[in-house]
Symmetry: C2
Subunit: 105 residues, 2 copies
DNA sequence: TCAATACGTCGGAAATATCCGACGCGTCAA
DNA sequence: TTGACGCGTCGGATATTTCCGACGTATTGA
């Protein structure tokens, strides 16, 4: 059971959609599968990937399993993106320097 | 030439690494390929994916091609993540309500 | 002009992802 | 207890990804 990379987990639109849906609250598998043009096994396998990426947590309720969102691993993506925010800030700062230089002429 | 999904483009660690490297400035293909345990064609194909996702731009200089970072499409990922930031704020607000309720007893 | 260099892309191999039907296991309700 | 339900997972089919060697094209420098 290899831990799945968060970026890989997000690469599939169905899985991103599932996460979006789970924001509203926990959902059972059949309930989730209704919203997609997919069979239940496929949804179940997408949930397995999300589970291995620790993006969802399962809570058994009788014969159903409610899946809960756990957004914490998303911080890895957010942190990665920050590296490019900083890049932009640097670029902007450099641009300002150039503009200041021009203004001083 | 189908436009590549940004999330898919980011799903590969080599492509993420390439983007990281390009923050420092434009790089030629051979130069980039040195840093990876990969042949040049593989790196070139990764660059093609990044190009289709509009995350890089190419600038021919003689027989070399310098690849530049274009971080703008990353905003799509950032916006997507924001949906979960808001989710968290809602959850925290709900939690505070519960705590206030408890405190009032 | 000619050999070397930098690069993109193609054909094909290998790995991986995605999906379904079928099956089995536990749970529910009669 | 028994039949229906909710679910996970397996086997296998198909699609996609990833990678390489080989080739063609354009550019460079001798």
């Amino acid at each position: 059971m290899p831990n799945v990379d968060v970026f890989s987990a997000l690469s599939n639109p169905v899985r991103r959609d599932i996460l979006m849906q789970l924001r509203m609250g926990p959902r059972a598998v059949n309930d989730l599968a209704q919203g997609f043009d997919l069979g239940r096994p496929a949804v179940s396998e997408h949930l397995q990937v999300l589970r291995k990426a620790r993006l969802v947590r399962e809570e058994p309720r009788g014969r159903e399993r409610y899946y809960h969102l756990d957004p914490r691993p998303l911080s890895e993506v957010d942190d990665w993106l920050k590296a490019f925010t900083h890049y932009w800030k640097q670029r902007l700062a450099a641009l300002e320097d150039v503009l200041d230089e021009e203004a001083r002429k």
